[in-house]
Symmetry: C2
Subunit: 419 residues, 2 copies
Amino acid sequence: MKQSQLLSKTRKEAPKDEASKNAELLIRAGFIHKEMAGVYSFLPLGLRVLNRVNDIIREEMNAIGGQEILLTTLQDRELWEKTGRWSDEVVDNWFKTKLKSGTELGLGFTHEEPLTALMKNHVRSFRDLPLYPYQIQTKFRNEMRAKSGIMRGREFLMKDLYSFSRDEKEHSLFYEKAKLAYMSIFDKVGIGEMTYITSASGGTFSKYSDEFQTITDAGEDTVYVCEGCKIAINGEVLEGKKECHNCRLSDLKERKAVEVGNIFNLGIRFSEALNLTYLDEEGKEKFVVMGSYGLGPTRLIGTIAETLSDKDGLVWPKRVAPFDVHLVEISDENNEVRKVSERVYSMLKKRGVEVLFDDRELRAGEKFKDSDLIGIPLRLIVSKKTFDGGLFEVKERASGKISMIKEDDLCGFARDYLK
Amino acid sequence: MKQSQLLSKTRKEAPKDEASKNAELLIRAGFIHKEMAGVYSFLPLGLRVLNRVNDIIREEMNAIGGQEILLTTLQDRELWEKTGRWSDEVVDNWFKTKLKSGTELGLGFTHEEPLTALMKNHVRSFRDLPLYPYQIQTKFRNEMRAKSGIMRGREFLMKDLYSFSRDEKEHSLFYEKAKLAYMSIFDKVGIGEMTYITSASGGTFSKYSDEFQTITDAGEDTVYVCEGCKIAINGEVLEGKKECHNCRLSDLKERKAVEVGNIFNLGIRFSEALNLTYLDEEGKEKFVVMGSYGLGPTRLIGTIAETLSDKDGLVWPKRVAPFDVHLVEISDENNEVRKVSERVYSMLKKRGVEVLFDDRELRAGEKFKDSDLIGIPLRLIVSKKTFDGGLFEVKERASGKISMIKEDDLCGFARDYLK
């Protein structure tokens, strides 16, 4: 895409009320727009990143048997009363609204209730199980404060998968598979190395749960990390002495971290309350055993912005970058450079490399500054100087490494790098 | 995908309170689930159709310069007060909610206001225009009644594009392009022949607007159609005698129809209220000229279900069907058929044909009934009988036409048909 036609512009300053580094960078670079605290719109660059993150999530969820669905925002009071989660005293972050008739509705902050109710139409016998529906959908949470940018929103995107299994054994098998799928997602989006499977509280559902915590000073949680075992313990469940659950080492490191995913064993908490049962091989009626598996695509993007940026701007991992190559043209007076830029741009596009082509009439310094801020993995400079020598300068955003590449080799170079 | 693993089951009956044919069929066939009146969830089959419809819309919007974005549901009261659209007396279908602080928020029923405000950060000079942002996003409308299934929801998906032009001339050029893109969308999703560009009221924005009306008895509008010119007039703007705007013929036919899209000239209604201006070539400050272009993907699906179904069930047009081929296996005792089914299933999948494989242990009659109800374009029967003869029976869902095809020719036959 040509940058002169791109909807968004970079900005020198983020809105004054923006307290988080992730939103500040993403707003300045033209990826998102702040509607109000905790509520952000996605501009074309941001939506491209979001779609790529969602595609990685879908790939991993489908690989473990997930089936994508799409539930609704509007929630039926009666249904949530059955599980005891309608009251604002039990759930303190509901947004609620009303039909013309006066009937109260909620805006979904999670979806165990409607999905469990829905499954009653589709689950009858043991043959129908297990099932793993998931969705990537907007959640609404009426947070008292929302100061962490897109790492904690009042309106945000969430991938939530729910497992419906015949028994605890079948549940546990999937639960472990889901753990691996989650770690694979974090690897692919570029934060695998900083992300730890973390023992945490099970909330109202069970004694423990598993969280996925990414180390960052911007995180709201405190975790104790065992570097050797690559696992951590959430401070909230630390009882007495700090000790790794695996190697029993007590030399755990205290770190600030953000919870990028969590998985819960729900047991029969919801199937019992809403009467979701199946007939087993012997014709006996049993409650379905459930689990829930949350992961926030927008929070992931916030975490990437927070942890992988540098003083000059964003640094996108290859698989989630809005474009592969930022073609920056340093124009000359007689438009020779333009001809070459257009040729290289067409060639790369034709071969499936995604290119943002900075064809704007601006000084080179301004273009480089914008390019650093936007953070596309490879920057390809087309200027009279480089062109006269028959070589193009390609700079890696993450490492700053510069290579001089022949025109015929540009595509191969980009592809090798992006692999 | 194997049907034994599919989340949804077909049903004999839709919920008793479901009054519309489209939702009744879609629920019975396992495409959607009714959460409450006017609020429906999408199951895997339904989501597949929705994604294909959205892909067609994106294709056409991108082709005329559209840039996809994603705005938010939660709406800022102050912003909407500036355009005079916050009051429930002016807009009678707001859903409203509150922050913990007591601040009132709205749930977006349309997005002119937030987008116009957002564009102020990205539009400065004539060089930045025109721009055509669009989104495919959930809208919330507090309808008094919601009896038309997914043809009129309280929560529904909408594609809304907004044009930002320098002047009326630039606006008009795009407006005409958008009309053609819309007709192309309706052609591709299979309702082009029944859909008419219709002169309608401009509501509060202008004297006239253009609607796209699909003829169906389930429609809530009355239009007067000129068959020759392929255009129509909405009853609401009919003044005095019925006469085609084009050929002046007065023999117009009265039809019930559903509005599947509409496009408006907004002029400077919003740019003036929210002060969205640009500097022209001479450095003079001018208001941006706007247009809005709405189209409901979920309403489209409802319209397809309503108009293209028959007594046995849904009949999906090729480009939006959840699968290309429904492979129905009529199993034998010694599992010979299963081997052939698996082989054909793998072969078709490998060559990019999307197959739903009915591998369930059910009687042939039940499987055929389900297959008719689900409405996939081609049904491929694998049974001992057809296999013994070396030929497979392929039935077209729309026409009922049956062809006997050799195994090696199955893929070619499917591809030719689906073209």
